[in-house]
């Protein structure tokens, strides 16, 4: 049972995550969008969306810190457990509260605005439920257990197991004694990754950083096939010359349209 939950499920989810993205990228460029609804409702979005996104960046950075940096490394550079705990809990609470507030506003606008309700797809609803579940579990881990509770040092168990997944040496025993909230959040996280490619979350991978160094005006030839999806910035800079086809016979038709 432990092996199923802590070994099989994570790998299955990761496989779906990768295969799902490949499939979606190849078959659904047209659907690959943020699905902006700002023109329909701006009052709640103006506040909710930046809060949610900035909070999400903080939360992702916090997860990367907690899961990927081994405890031995922070200890080696002289960060003791108390300091780490202080940083992680305070950072987690601040970004977490931003995320919760942003998510609440974004969900609220789906209910409050009839226009938004009409354009909300089934996948959007699934995504909002999943996000809410993940955030509630994560926040209860941080706030209930680590801020007000006795605390749980996930860096000795969950983080080690998590890294093990990527070394292909996941140790299910490490997860056996984790508090239920952390267990649910961990496995929920993998399930969430499996859901990712089928939602509007794919727009994350299109974060337009290349815009920072691209030339402003983009030229593209009609005959030039669309460059491979999400091109390297250099590809955009190259103005492909429309090679003149000098060998083709010139048409005997008059150059201009004449309509009688």
């Amino acid at each position: 049972m432990h092996t199923l939950i802590w070994v099989v499920v994570p790998y299955a989810c990761l496989a779906v995550f990768v295969a799902g993205h490949v499939w979606r990228w190849r078959h659904d460029q047209f659907g690959w969008t943020t699905h902006t609804s700002q023109i329909l409702e701006n009052r709640l979005l103006r506040l909710g969306s930046p809060l949610f996104h900035l909070g999400a960046f903080g939360v992702i950075a916090g997860h990367a810190m907690g899961l990927l940096i081994p405890e031995s490394l922070t200890a080696a550079i002289g960060v003791d457990e108390h300091t780490y705990h202080l940083v992680s809990v305070s950072g987690g609470v601040v970004t977490g509260v931003m995320l919760v507030a942003g998510l609440a506003l974004l969900i609220a606008r789906r209910f409050v605005s009839g226009r938004i309700r009409r354009v909300t797809t089934t996948m959007d609803k699934v995504l909002y439920v999943a996000l809410t579940a993940m955030v509630v579990l994560g926040m209860s881990g941080t706030v209930v257990i680590n801020l007000f509770g006795e605390g749980y040092n996930y860096r000795e168990t969950i983080s080690v197991w998590f890294r093990g997944v990527f070394w292909f040496r996941p140790d299910p025993a490490l997860m056996a004694d984790a508090p239920l909230v952390f267990q649910l959040h961990a496995i929920g996280g993998f399930l969430f990754l499996a859901l990712w490619p089928f939602t509007r979350l794919v727009h994350v991978w299109s974060a337009p950083l290349a815009y920072l160094w691209r030339p402003y005006v983009v030229y593209r030839g009609r005959r030039t096939p669309a460059p491979a999806p999400q091109p390297a910035p250099a590809a955009l800079r190259v103005v492909e010359p429309a090679t003149p086809d000098t060998t083709a016979p010139r048409s005997a038709e008059p150059a201009t349209t004449v309509k009688s």
Binding site: W32, Y211, R222, P244, T256, T257
Partner: protein, 501 residues
């Protein structure tokens, strides 16, 4: 020098009667789909008026187009690259759909299914296509038609006037302004697109949105000072006027031009020097009009033709450019002017400004609108119509706007004299610095306006025909929810599938 071809349009505003045929045929062709109900790639506004979307010309509010920064460098008014990415989660300059209007439909079944013998005539109720709820229609794309409504006094152009315009029946003026995408040489929308999905076509300068690469960051909508890029709220992607490129490639005029009953649209090719664009967009405001005229190259100049040939442009295009009515109106007769050159995007839809507001003013002043001197004096004395037109077409240069109006008035009087008693009014010709032949050719182009003189469009280069034909079996626009006619009939779910191409 890098020589490029641009398909451009000129509209002769004196002939626009505001019938909206262009808007309707454009909508039928391109935006009769869910998600684009509020979208008019072509709309006809009445000026003075606040326009569609509301107050789009107020760039203090919408931050569209370009401006010169403190050091005189060209920057997007909405901010640089980092600033734009910083605003990506909520675009503060994005118009709401209420700035366009809430689109409505009607329950016509109530009329069809009404039982016989009703005491009252059944009335169909408007329903919002956004919410499906009954609604009250309170605004539309042409709400101010012919000075209807009470908003025309808020026209942003009025701020540039030295005299307050009094909207009194005897002294007021109005004209219609049809607008499509400007297909700018220095497009702000393309420059603001974070994902690089918008581009200017190398062959003909048409500005397009790659529907597959648009990620819905909606920066193009706010960056365009003309507000001619729209969000399709069903697909989450940007859409805009395509200059009817499938028609142009076949040598046909755009659908708005083809169906224009006033025959006021002209389509043709211009040669321009791409390397001159940035400099022309960066000059101080008073020099903008001349700088923008200066990027065009004379299609009859053998050196330009050689350069075009060397750059690989097809011979048909080199010939067509010489017959281009757009070149004649902009550069030879110099009577066409760009819409709001101060936005610094170098728009490629130019306008022959209407003489009618001046003629109205001549009449209101008790003068004779068939007398050239009276018209000239009105242009010089009465600031209101000329200042207003200057605010639209010359970045406030009343002399340039007045000069164009003088030419139109002179042509009118010259042709009147020619037709009535056969005299040649030399003094009129000298006053505007044109020859009799030129004025008559200009008259022919503006007034007679034969189909094949208005539209000089070379078909796509024959060498490319094979490639085009290969793409004929499936329309690249005809995807689910896409801008083709086979759009979805319902809001697509997040994952929508394209037919394999």
């Amino acid at each position: 020098m890098r020589i490029r071809a641009q398909v451009a349009m000129v509209m002769n505003l004196d002939k626009c009667i505001g019938c909206h045929t262009c808007s309707v045929t454009c909508k039928q062709t391109w935006t009769n789909r869910e998600g684009t109900e509020y979208v008019w790639f072509n709309n006809v506004e009445t000026k003075p008026g606040i326009g569609y979307p509301k107050f789009y010309e107020d760039q203090d509010r919408w931050k569209g187009g370009w401006k010169l920064d403190g050091k005189g460098r060209l920057t997007l008014r909405s901010g640089g690259r980092l600033a734009r990415l910083g605003k990506i989660f909520a675009n503060p300059d994005l118009p709401s759909i209420d700035d366009y209007y809430e689109p409505a439909t009607f329950d016509k079944d109530i009329l069809v299914n009404a039982p016989a013998g009703l005491a009252d005539t059944p009335v169909k109720q408007p329903y919002s296509t956004l919410t499906g709820e009954p609604m009250k229609i309170e605004w539309g794309a042409n709400w101010e038609d012919s000075l209807g409504g009470d908003t025309f006094e808020q026209d942003p152009n009025m701020r540039n006037m030295t005299e307050k315009v009094k909207f009194e029946f005897e002294t007021t003026f109005m004209f219609h302004l049809p607008r499509i995408c400007e297909h700018c040489l220095n497009p702000a929308c393309v420059s603001a697109c974070p994902s690089g999905a918008m581009y200017k076509r190398e062959e003909d300068g048409i500005v397009l949105v790659d529907q597959d690469r648009c990620r819905g960051w909606r920066m193009c909508v706010s960056a365009c000072p003309y507000k001619k890029v729209y969000v399709n709220h069903a697909t989450g992607k940007a859409e805009k006027c395509t200059f009817c490129f499938p028609r142009l490639e076949a040598g046909q005029p755009t659908i708005c031009s083809e169906t224009c009953v006033g025959r006021l649209r002209y389509l043709g090719i211009l040669w321009y020097d791409e390397d001159a664009v940035l400099a022309a967009a960066s000059v101080p405001t008073p020099e903008l009009l001349d700088a923008q005229r200066g990027v065009f190259l004379d299609p009859r100049d053998p050196a330009v033709q050689r350069a075009a040939r060397d750059a690989g442009h097809p011979e048909e295009w080199i010939e067509a450019a010489q017959a281009s009515p757009v070149w004649k109106l902009i550069s030879e007769y110099r009577i066409a002017l760009p819409l709001h050159p101060e936005y610094r995007t170098l728009p490629m839809v130019w306008y022959v400004p209407p003489l009618s507001p001046v003629l109205d003013a001549v009449g209101a002043a008790g003068r004779d609108d068939t007398d050239a001197d009276d018209v000239f004096h009105t242009i010089q004395d009465l600031r209101i119509p000329v200042e207003y037109l200057a605010s639209l077409f010359t970045a406030g240069d009343t002399e340039a706007a007045g000069g164009v109006l003088m030419k139109l008035a002179a042509m009118r009087s010259y042709m009147r004299a020619r037709t009535l008693d056969g005299t040649v009014a030399r003094d009129l010709l000298d006053g505007i610095g044109m020859t009799g032949d030129q004025v008559e050719a200009m008259y022919r182009l503006l007034a007679i306006a034969k189909y094949d003189e208005r539209y000089v469009i070379p078909a796509a280069h024959t060498g490319q025909a094979a490639a085009l034909e290969a793409s004929m079996d499936s329309c690249s626009l005809d995807c689910e929810g896409g801008p083709g006619m086979g759009g979805a009939t319902r809001v697509p779910v997040t994952i929508s599938r394209r037919p394999p191409s």
